[in-house]
């Protein structure tokens, strides 16, 4: 404290003795002078440029490169996510279409199968009816044939019996009449 007071007391007197202005006195006290200040300015400017180029430059470049890579990575990730979403969406659409088509095919197949089934049934029924009809006709024909054969055999037997019993040779007309009479009595 004493030192400060001494300095403050001495300063005006010293300045007055030397005839200096305030600024000059401050400059002298703190060692400010033109050439030294200019040197410091040049020195500082050189130092700051050197630091910018050799110290901050490489680190900032690396940081910028990394942030660019990160940005690119994020961009890629977004793109991939978008593509994935689009792909999922298109897969969903394709699946839905496939499902729809499959359902349609199944329906068509069912319909077609039912139709074919119906046709087959109708055909089978028709065929069965035809077979039945044919069988009936065959049976009728056979019955008619058997009847005819039976009639002939019966006539022959009647004629043969009559010939043997009477000892008379029968004419065709006799045979026909006897046959008709016999058949009429049998059927009657």
């Amino acid at each position: 404290m004493f030192q400060i007071i001494n300095i403050l007391a001495a300063a005006p007197a010293q300045a007055a003795v030397e005839g200096e202005g305030v600024v000059q006195e401050i400059a002298r006290t703190f060692g400010l002078n033109g050439p030294m200040f200019f040197s410091q300015c040049v020195s500082f400017f050189i130092v700051i440029l050197l630091l910018k180029k050799f110290a901050f430059g490489p680190i900032l470049n690396m940081l910028e490169l990394r942030s660019k890579r990160i940005e690119e990575g994020e961009e890629k990730l977004k793109r991939i996510e978008k593509q994935l979403a689009e792909s999922e969406e298109s897969t969903k659409i394709v699946l839905a279409e496939a499902n729809s088509q499959a359902q349609r095919l199944i329906d068509e197949s069912k319909e077609s199968a039912a139709h074919i089934n119906e046709q087959a049934t109708q055909k089978a029924l028709a065929e069965a009816a035809q077979i039945k009809e044919r069988a009936q006709k065959d049976a009728e024909n056979q019955v008619q044939q058997m009847r005819a054969e039976l009639k002939q055999e019966f006539g022959r037997l009647v004629a043969a019996t009559t010939t043997q019993v009477t000892g008379k040779v029968l004419t065709d007309a006799d045979q026909d009449r006897i046959n008709k009479e016999a058949l009429a009595s049998v059927e009657g």
């Binding site: 030192q3 400060i4 001494n6 300095i7 403050l8 300063a11 005006p12 300045a15 007055a16 305030v22 006195e25 401050i26 006290t29 703190f30 060692g31 400010l32 002078n33 050439p35 030294m36 200040f37 040197s39 410091q40 300015c41 040049v42 020195s43 500082f44 400017f45 130092v47 700051i48 050197l50 630091l51 910018k52 050799f54 110290a55 901050f56 490489p58 680190i59 900032l60 690396m62 940081l63 490169l65 990394r66 890579r69």
Partner: protein
């Protein structure tokens, strides 16, 4: 005469050198070059170069084998620079920090390293006595920021860059409008009054801008120079030689802290000064909404 006394005492107090006028380190850095040399080199200037060399060497070693996934020194260097960048981005914004980081980053690291290497044993205490006193009047090495020429060079360089950045960001008209134009919408007689008021405020602002380099340089110089003197003073308390290291020891930790704080203060103030002049009113209104 009274004004002169007050001014000198103000700057002496601001610089924290009042107690060291009579003893301790000299207020100015001795030159190492002969008298009349056109480019004088002081011991503090040598320390600045040493600090720059240390920073460059560190950066070169750290970035010798750059890898996208950083490890070791590269990791530390990138953490330091990136933290500083993000910190300044918070103050200046994305656009300005891209333009000006090289300056603010350099200022911070350079001041910090200068402050810390100024604490190395021998700096400021090893030298010769040119006046026949018992203390070192011409130290061989001196903290880079313990020289007002250096701190003033930094401040004035910033002042020039500040003017350049302010004009390129605002335009000449915008720059002057930022300082002198009335803020807000007025009409009639109120407008005339506001023009007068803001004109006066602008003049005060100009004086404030003009004084910024002085305040910046004296603040940094005073803190660092006072710190060095404090350490030397503690060492000269009169203890036996083998115990002289003890009293300054706690203050070394204090000075380490002061070194960081002063570097931060210088960088922060310069960044804020730039932000203030580059801030646009329309942005403010947007933010207000």
């Amino acid at each position: 005469m009274a004004i002169r006394t007050i001014l000198i005492s103000f700057f002496a107090t601001l610089a924290g050198v009042g107690s060291t006028f009579a003893a301790g380190l000299p207020q100015h850095a001795p030159t190492l070059t002969p008298e009349g040399f056109p480019f004088p080199i002081s011991n503090s200037m040598v320390m600045v170069w040493m600090a720059a060399a240390i920073i460059i060497l560190f950066a070169q070693v750290a970035t010798r084998k750059m890898a996208l996934v950083p490890t070791g020194l590269q990791n530390f260097a990138e953490w330091l620079v990136e933290s500083l960048y993000n910190f300044l981005k918070g103050i200046l914004g994305e656009h300005l920090v891209k333009r000006t980081f090289w300056f603010f980053g350099t200022i911070f690291i350079l001041i910090l390293v200068n402050n810390w290497i100024g604490l190395l044993p021998g700096v400021g205490t090893v030298g010769w006595d040119a006046h026949g006193h018992e203390h070192v009047s011409h130290p061989l090495m001196r903290g880079g920021n313990a020289d007002l020429n250096m701190t003033l060079a930094m401040s004035l360089t910033f002042a020039v860059l500040w003017l350049y950045w302010a004009i390129t960001e605002n335009g000449v008209k915008g720059f002057f409008a930022h300082i002198f134009a009335p803020k807000g919408k007025f009409g009639g007689p109120m407008k005339i009054m506001m023009i007068l008021v803001f004109g006066m405020v602008g003049l005060i602002e100009v004086a404030s801008i003009a004084l910024r380099p002085v305040a910046l340089s004296f603040r940094l110089y005073g803190n660092i120079f006072a710190g060095e003197n404090l350490l030397e003073g503690m060492m000269m308390l009169g203890l036996p030689n083998w115990l002289m290291w003890l009293p300054p020891l706690p203050f070394y930790f204090l000075e380490l802290l002061v070194g960081v704080i002063q570097a931060l203060v210088f960088m922060l103030l310069t960044a804020v000064f730039l932000k203030l002049i580059c801030e646009h009113d329309d942005h403010d209104e947007d933010h207000a909404h």
